[in-house]
C-alpha cells in the first residue's frame, strides 16, 4: 500500500492541494532520518491509499482538507508584534477599567497639590516627589488623570465607532443590496454628510445636542453620550460607503441569487449571506476607526467641545495645558504618546484581523 519502490523513497507526500499548510504528517523537509520517517508517514497517510474512481478521489479530498479543516486556535500563528499590540491594548483597557471602577487607585485625579503644579518627572524646576509622571498645571497627578482619561477616551471612541458601524454599515449593506433608487437616496445622503468637513460637522452636532455653551453646563446629556453621537454620526458616511461597495460586489454573486431562488426574504439575505462577507473587512476598519476617533475626541477637546473638565480625557489633558508645551512638555507628551501607541496597536491589529479572516474562495 505505501507507494515506495524498494531503493527509492519518496521523502515527501505532495502538499495537500487545498490545505495551504501541509498536513501534520508532512512536516520536516528531509532532515536526518527522513527516509525512515517517510516510510512511516506513507503508511500513516491515507491520501496515498486510493486514487481510483470517484469515491477514492472524494476520500483524498476529504483527507487533504483535514489538517486545516477545523478552526484554528484563536492565538495560533500570531507574530510577536501582534502579541505586543494585543498586550498594549489589554493593558490600556485594564488601566481604564480599574481607574473607572476605583478597584485600584493611583491617587485622586482631581486632587490638586499647588506645590507640584506643572512639575514633570524631568521638568525644569525639579520633579514632583511621589508623582512618577509629574503633575499638570494645577498640580493634579498625571498617572491618575491619564488612567481615568483612558476610560473616557476609549468609551467615546469605541462607542462612536459602534454607532457608526451599526448605522453606517447597515445602511451601506441596504444600499448595496437593493441598489437602484434606495442606493441613490442613501448614497446621496452619505455624500451630503461627507461634503461637510468632518470637524465642522462634529462641532455642529455637539452644539445641537448640547445646546449653547451657556446651557451646556445644564445639559442633561452626559458628555460621553453627546460625543459618541457626534463622532458616530460623522463616521456613518465613511463606513457606509465602504460597506455599500463591499455589499454591492457580494450581492452580484450567485449564492445571493440562489438564496432568492429558495425564497429567502431580503432581510435574511442581507444578514445571512452579505453580512458575514462584509463584516470582517468592516471590523478591521473599525479598529482603525477607534484610533481615529480617539484623535477626533482630542481635536474636539482642543476646540472646547470634548469631554469637559474636570473629567479628564486624553484629549482634554492635551487641550487644557497645551500652553505649557515649552515649560512643562510632559503634560502634553504623556497623553500624546499614549494616543500614538494605542493608534499604532489598533492599526496593526486591524491588519492582523483582515488577513486572518480572509476566506479563500476556492482550493482550485
Amino acid at each position: 500500500m505505501p507507494c515506495s519502490i524498494p531503493g527509492f523513497v519518496v521523502p515527501e507526500r505532495r502538499p495537500s492541494p487545498r490545505g495551504g499548510a501541509p498536513g501534520p504528517g508532512t512536516g520536516g523537509f528531509g532532515g536526518p532520518g527522513a527516509p525512515a520517517d517517510a516510510i512511516r508517514r506513507d503508511e500513516a497517510d491515507p491520501s496515498s491509499l486510493a486514487f481510483e474512481g470517484d469515491a477514492g478521489l472524494l476520500q483524498v479530498d476529504a483527507v487533504a482538507a483535514g489538517p486545516e479543516g477545523g478552526r484554528r486556535r484563536l492565538g495560533q500563528g500570531l507574530n510577536v508584534t501582534a502579541w505586543v499590540a494585543i498586550a498594549w491594548m489589554a493593558f490600556i483597557v485594564l488601566i481604564a477599567v480599574l481607574a473607572k471602577t476605583g478597584l485600584v487607585t493611583w491617587g485622586d485625579p482631581q486632587n490638586s497639590i499647588a506645590s507640584c503644579a506643572s512639575k514633570g518627572p524631568f521638568a525644569q524646576g525639579g520633579s514632583a516627589p511621589g508623582h512618577l509622571l509629574g503633575c499638570d498645571s494645577i498640580g493634579r497627578d498625571m498617572i491618575a488623570r491619564l488612567a481615568l482619561g483612558a476610560w473616557e477616551s476609549l468609551l467615546v471612541s469605541v462607542g462612536a465607532i459602534t454607532v457608526g458601524f451599526v448605522i453606517g454599515g447597515g445602511l451601506g449593506i441596504i444600499a448595496g443590496y437593493f441598489g437602484g433608487f434606495v442606493d441613490t437616496v442613501l448614497s446621496g445622503m452619505f455624500n451630503v454628510l461627507l461634503s461637510v468637513p468632518a470637524i465642522v460637522l462634529a462641532l455642529a452636532l455637539v452644539a445641537f445636542l448640547q445646546g449653547s455653551p451657556e446651557n451646556a453646563a445644564n445639559s442633561t446629556l452626559p458628555d460621553w453620550f453627546v460625543l459618541i453621537l457626534a463622532i458616530g454620526i460623522v463616521s456613518i458616511p465613511l463606513v457606509g460607503r465602504i460597506s455599500r461597495a463591499s455589499a454591492l460586489s457580494w450581492s452580484q454573486r450567485e449564492f445571493v441569487l440562489a438564496a432568492r431562488a429558495q425564497g429567502a426574504k431580503s432581510g435574511r439575505i442581507m444578514i445571512r449571506e452579505l453580512l458575514p462577507n462584509v463584516a470582517p473587512a468592516m471590523f478591521s476598519i473599525a479598529l482603525l476607526g477607534i484610533a481615529i476617533a480617539i484623535v477626533a475626541e482630542g481635536t474636539l477637546a482642543i476646540l472646547g467641545v470634548g469631554v469637559r473638565p474636570p473629567t479628564p480625557s486624553w484629549g482634554n489633558i492635551i487641550a487644557l495645558d497645551r500652553g505649557l508645551l515649552l515649560t512643562s512638555p510632559h503634560i502634553v507628551f504623556e497623553p500624546s504618546i499614549l494616543i500614538f501607541l494605542t493608534a499604532l496597536a489598533l492599526n496593526y491589529l486591524g491588519d492582523v484581523v483582515r488577513t486572518r479572516f480572509e476566506v479563500r474562495e476556492s482550493g482550485i
Binding site: D61, V359, S362, G363
Partner: protein, 357 residues
C-alpha cells in the same frame, strides 16, 4: 432562425412548465435602447422530462432559465408552472412557489457562500420554510448530502475546502433539499473537468429519478445535452432555431445553425486536421440591434433575400421536429461554410449594426 411561434408546444395539461412568447429585454442607458436577450421563446416541459437548451454564449439560454424563475421577471410572455401563472405572482405569493422551482448554477464557487458551512448552506431552504423541527432538518440534510455523494461528516467545512466537483454536489444538494418539482440547471458542468462532468451528469440523473424531478438543462456542449435530454431546443440570439428529440437533431439537423453547431464538435482523432471550412465564421450580431428577418442570416450560408425580409416561424418539418427556417437543410446536405450568407449583404432600412462585420 428567428423562430417565434408555438406550434411545438404540446397540447393538454401534461406540461409541468409551459412558457409562451417569453421576452426579456435589458434597457441600456436612457435612450430607450435595450438588449434583446430573449425575444419570444416558447417551450414546454412535461412532468419528468428533461429539456436541453443549447446555443453559443450570449444567445439567451441562461436568461431564459432565470426568467422562468422570475429572477428577474420577463418583460412579457407567459410562464405557467404546475398550473400557476408565475408572471402574475408577486411578493409573498411568488416566494411561496420558489421552493418547488430550483436552480443550479454554472460556477460552483460563486454559487456557495464562502463564509457559511456546508451544512448551513444545504439546510438554508429548510430553515427558510421552517420545514420540520431541528432534528428532522438535520436528518434531511444528512440524507441529501449522502445522496449526492458527500460525507455528512464534512458538513462543518466551508466550500473552499472542496473541489469544484464537490462544490457542485453541494449545490445540487441545496437545490433538491426542499424537494422541488422542477430544477433549472444553468450550465452545471461547464466549469468542471471532463472527468468530473460525467460524475455530475450521472448524479443529476440519479437525483432526477430519486426525487422525481423535471429538469431544464442549459448548456453549450452538444454532447452533454444529447446524453441527458429528452428534447432539445437550439437557440440563437434570443430566438428558437430548432426543437427536436436529441436523436433526430443529431442525426439530421434541419436548421443550418444546428448543422453548424454539430460540425463544430471536435473530432477525437489526432490525425484529422481541423477543417476550418467546417467552422461557422463571423460573430454573433449585437443583441441591441439584431438583424431583421431571420437573426441567423448574417452568418448563414443558405440565406436568401427572403431571410432578411421575413422572419421564419417554427414549423414541423418531420414528426416532432420543428425548425424555424425558410430553407431547412435537406437530408444529407453538407453545409458550405465558405459561402457567407447572401442575406448578410442585404441592407434593410432600419437594420442597425447587426449586419455584416
Amino acid at each position: 432562425m428567428a423562430g417565434t411561434g408555438s406550434i411545438h408546444l404540446r397540447a393538454g395539461d401534461g406540461a409541468l412548465l409551459r412558457v409562451e412568447d417569453l421576452v426579456v429585454e435589458f434597457p441600456i442607458g436612457h435612450g430607450g435602447e435595450a438588449v434583446h436577450a430573449v425575444s419570444g421563446i416558447s417551450l414546454d416541459v412535461l412532468d419528468g422530462e428533461t429539456l436541453g437548451i443549447v446555443g453559443e454564449s450570449g444567445c439567451g439560454k441562461s436568461t431564459t432559465g432565470r426568467a422562468v424563475m422570475q429572477l428577474p421577471a420577463p418583460k412579457s410572455g407567459s410562464v405557467r408552472f404546475d398550473g400557476v401563472e408565475l408572471t402574475s405572482l408577486h411578493g409573498e405569493a411568488l416566494r411561496r412557489v420558489r421552493p418547488r422551482l430550483q436552480m443550479i448554477f454554472q460556477d460552483p464557487i460563486s454559487s456557495l457562500n464562502p463564509r457559511r458551512r456546508v451544512r448551513e448552506i444545504v439546510r438554508e431552504g429548510l430553515d427558510i420554510w421552517e420545514m420540520g423541527d431541528k432534528d428532522a432538518r438535520n436528518a434531511k440534510v444528512d440524507e441529501v448530502l449522502d445522496a449526492v455523494g458527500m460525507d455528512p461528516a464534512n458538513g462543518a467545512r466551508r466550500p473552499h475546502e472542496f473541489s469544484g466537483g464537490q462544490c457542485q454536489r453541494i449545490s445540487i444538494a441545496r437545490a433538491v433539499v426542499t424537494e422541488p418539482k422542477l430544477i433549472i440547471c444553468d450550465e452545471p458542468v461547464s466549469a468542471l473537468d471532463v472527468s468530473v462532468q460525467a460524475q455530475i451528469l450521472n448524479l443529476l440523473e440519479d437525483m432526477k429519478h430519486r426525487y422525481g424531478l423535471t429538469v431544464v438543462f442549459i448548456a453549450h456542449d452538444l454532447a452533454v445535452v444529447k446524453n441527458v435530454s429528452d428534447r432539445v431546443l437550439v437557440m440563437y440570439l434570443g430566438k428558437a432555431c430548432e426543437i427536436a428529440s436529441p436523436d433526430d437533431l443529431y442525426e439530421h439537423p434541419k436548421h443550418p445553425y444546428t448543422g453548424a453547431l454539430l460540425a463544430a464538435i471536435p473530432v477525437p482523432d489526432p490525425t484529422q486536421h481541423p477543417d476550418e471550412e467546417r467552422v461557422l465564421g463571423g460573430e454573433v450580431p449585437s443583441p441591441i440591434h439584431p438583424p431583421t428577418g431571420c437573426r441567423f442570416r448574417t452568418r448563414c450560408p443558405k440565406s436568401q433575400e427572403r431571410c432578411a425580409l421575413e422572419e421564419p416561424v417554427l414549423r414541423e418539418v418531420e414528426p416532432s421536429q420543428y425548425v424555424a427556417c425558410h430553407f431547412p437543410l435537406e437530408a444529407g446536405e453538407q453545409i458550405d461554410f465558405a459561402r457567407v450568407g447572401i442575406g448578410a449583404s442585404i441592407d434593410v432600412a432600419s437594420d442597425g449594426d447587426g449586419s455584416t462585420p
